[in-house]
Symmetry: C3
């Protein structure tokens, strides 16, 4: 679906430069752009690429002399990544799941679908489900008993929503996401080795081997508005109260949100993050890929954790952390530098001992 | 389905206090409980919540003056989490997959299903499969050629069981679990860089780039009784002998159990754990979230590993470990404390050098 | 399907010893081998096992006196794992998905399937798809709009290929792999806390809470020949250009390859590896399980990273690395040894202070 440069500029809240009637149907890096692509040249580095490619129009850096770059039209993006958001939304051809209810879908007669909801092939909508207007329930998906999904949702192929999950507006779930199934919650008849090790900080002795007895997860999941969950990520049901994800939070692929966890508003978790049971994450928290957070702890608002940080205890609001265990980034970097300087320190101490104790001391 | 307090108390092996005929249909935290909820108030902290909520009955802490808390009935739980197991089992409404064989399921005529087995929509049961009585094979699942599943299983939506997998009684698999597919097993024609690096502990030089040749996984998977596998977790087939999971072991979401691994009895692995190929894990081993275990090693019985520990070598039985690389918890904590004290140590050594060498030494 | 020892030897490029007409239908460890199994006894350690089992034929170590081990036929494997590749390929009974197009599959009339392509039950092939000859598209899979898959592919049950993904020859995808869906790419209207923390290496203050605005992923995924992707792994679409996986690369279960990543030729990634956005991985790179690589960095050719290494910056070609942060393996091991020796160093410095400053100094 082609868009004119004028139309794109308007969508981005700016004015086109040059011939706004030129139409583009895709975007491209400058060097590989065809004549119907909008070239993305948001930095001066891309000037050479524009000469190589065939773009007639480009999104350019502020102050670019776009005419001398051979362009017939241009759009200036003051904050490049923000412009990318508007531009890619406009040009996204999507997965093409198709409109309407596919005849192979199995929809319980008690389910209520809002206006314009589409349901893909081999998808199951269980009893008592309510889905808001305009939602796209993709192919091979499963929406469990009494689940609620707000308007404007996009469930990609193979998404699984468990029974009694409640989800707000504009929800996006990537393929294979599993939301609202059982948490890992087990107990032994007597105190177990792991309970003793936790209580004593390291001693698991004196406990006898026991089998695990299952605690069922009755609390389901409660998700706010504008949330996105990545491919093959899991959000487990709470035990009694629901596990919660706040409005605007975005969670990447292969993440694990355990039972009873509370995630605040506008958080961003990269892939392979794991949040253990009953932990609370504040608002606007950013966790890098593979970050782990232990159970029953608290991470304050606006915390930023670098990739693969391991959070083993409470983190105050606003802290930028890194490492295993995660500490303030500057503490981590100092510790790391000190570690690198250790061989020299050992040599210094050996020299001191030789000098002070003459005979080389007790080494 | 409502249960009387007397009935719940009996299921937990105790006596009800007060009016045992009161019926409840759900559980709740005290403050949000309605009149038909059993409030869970296992600690004195919850007394105020009971006043806020509308519960008529509650599970309370030992010694609670339940009548003065406004309750008409109460149950005392000496070991709270254990009581939760019985209680939640009783009250779990489940996913509601429905009984019987759904007409859309594809079941090979050579498959044998025990009494009362249910099979959900769009599920495939391949040739030669045997499934024990009372098992629930959920929607959109796949049970491969000649697989055996014991009685009492619950396969949630989208579970995939590969060919020739053998599973014992009371198996539970959460959505998207993939059990019995190919391991990552590859070889190069000549010694590869990674083989050389392992042999020399760090030198990969002198090897030429090569392509990987696939070793197929013929050994499938053997799972004992009472095992649970979490959502989107993977248990790969062994190469020649089966990969094994012992009776009673519980594995959380997004875990990876590689080819030829042997997991013992009654282990508990939290989410995102990875066990590399041909490693043996003992009995009653507890691994925190994101723990990794290297290939071809052994973890002894009753080991407890803290979250994100990286196990790079053999661990003796009974040890409580933490860190990267994982060491005894006390060693890890000492090392960590020492690291924190390093800046002071550097200052001390500088002062010593100044004093001993007068001129500041060779720094 | 039984194979004669002569036939197997020929497939491995060697000569059979003894009676090459003996037929075997499976492989086994020596001790558990039946009379129709080929025992795998590639090391002298297995001699005792051969006596316990009933194998008539075995693959044995170079120089083995196979006749005295009670065998009627033998094959000698100079490079054992290489022989395993040929042998297991020959004897793999596979998943048995069945030939032909299953009548329940939904194939868009505009899709083009090459000769001998099979499509399993409940699988969806969307509009404009092209699939090369001989490919097996397993059950419950999804191949999205305009995707291209080369000849000889094997898509296991539940694999999801997104729209416009392009894949070369001999592709293998294990169950639940999701390739070509949206990356985690978000932007805030103004500079966010995480942008500030990155720019200042640790200070996120002075930013106000903001919501995330989505950047759509238009670039899809481009995969070379002979690539394998593990169960429940995710390869996200690029933003503008495709995310790329080079020829011959093998990626294990539960891995995450983010948007815009470029993976070279013949790489091997073990399970739970995460590569963050826009990072470039060279050729013949081997990453152990749970390795993480930060975004926008470069890992050179032939790098080998030990399990759970966290790569936070550029790695030169040929390096063998380990740790968090990942450093040269010898540096990591030295640092680790130094950490273990720290308590002694603290004691030494205390003794020095006592001696030099007499009164115990300022401690």
């Amino acid at each position: 679906m082609p868009h004119s440069i004028a139309e794109i500029a308007a969508a981005l809240g700016t004015e086109p430069l040059g011939d706004g009637s030129i139409e583009v149907s895709g975007v491209s890096e400058p060097a590989t752009a065809g004549p119907s692509d909008l070239a993305l040249a948001m930095k001066p580095d891309y000037a050479a690429g524009l000469a190589q490619g065939q773009a007639q129009a480009a999104m350019v850096w502020a102050g670019a002399d776009w005419q001398s770059l051979g362009l017939k039209a241009a759009i200036v993006a003051p904050r490049a990544r923000l412009a990318m958001a508007g531009l890619t939304r406009l040009l996204d051809p999507g997965q093409g799941y198709g409109a309407g209810i596919h005849p192979s879908a199995i929809i319980d007669p008690t389910a209520e679908l809002g206006e314009g909801v589409s349901v893909g092939p081999f998808t199951i909508i269980a009893a008592g489900v309510k889905i808001g207007a305009g939602s796209v329930i993709g192919p091979q998906a499963h929406v469990g008993t009494d689940a609620r999904i707000g308007p404007g949702a996009m469930l990609h192929t193979g998404v699984r929503i468990g029974a009694r999950v409640r989800i707000g507006r504009n929800f996006i779930a990537q393929p294979g996401a599993a939301i609202g199934f059982d948490g890992l919650s087990f107990v032994t008849e007597e105190e177990s080795g792991v309970e003793r090790a936790r209580a004593t900080l390291g001693d698991s002795s004196g406990t006898r081997p026991q089998s695990w007895i299952r605690i069922h997860s009755l609390g389901s999941v409660l998700i706010g508005d504008d949330v996105e969950i990545g491919a093959n990520s899991c959000v487990d049901s709470g035990t009694i109260r629901p596990t919660r994800i706040g409005d605007g939070s975005k969670i990447d692929n292969l993440c694990h949100i355990a039972h009873n966890v509370v995630v605040g508003r506008d958080c961003l978790f990269a892939a392979l993050v794991g949040i253990a049971g009953s932990t609370t994450i504040g608002n606007n928290v950013v966790l890098g890929g593979q970050v782990g957070v232990t159970d029953n702890t608290t991470v304050g608002d606006n915390v930023v954790a670098g990739g693969a940080s391991v959070i083993l205890s409470k983190v105050p609001a606003g802290r930028v952390i890194l490492g295993y265990p995660a500490t303030k980034m500057e503490t981590h970097l100092e510790g790391y530098k000190a570690l690198r300087r250790l061989p020299r320190l050992f040599a210094d101490v050996a020299a001191l001992k030789k000098s002070v104790f003459k005979d080389g001391g007790n080494d």
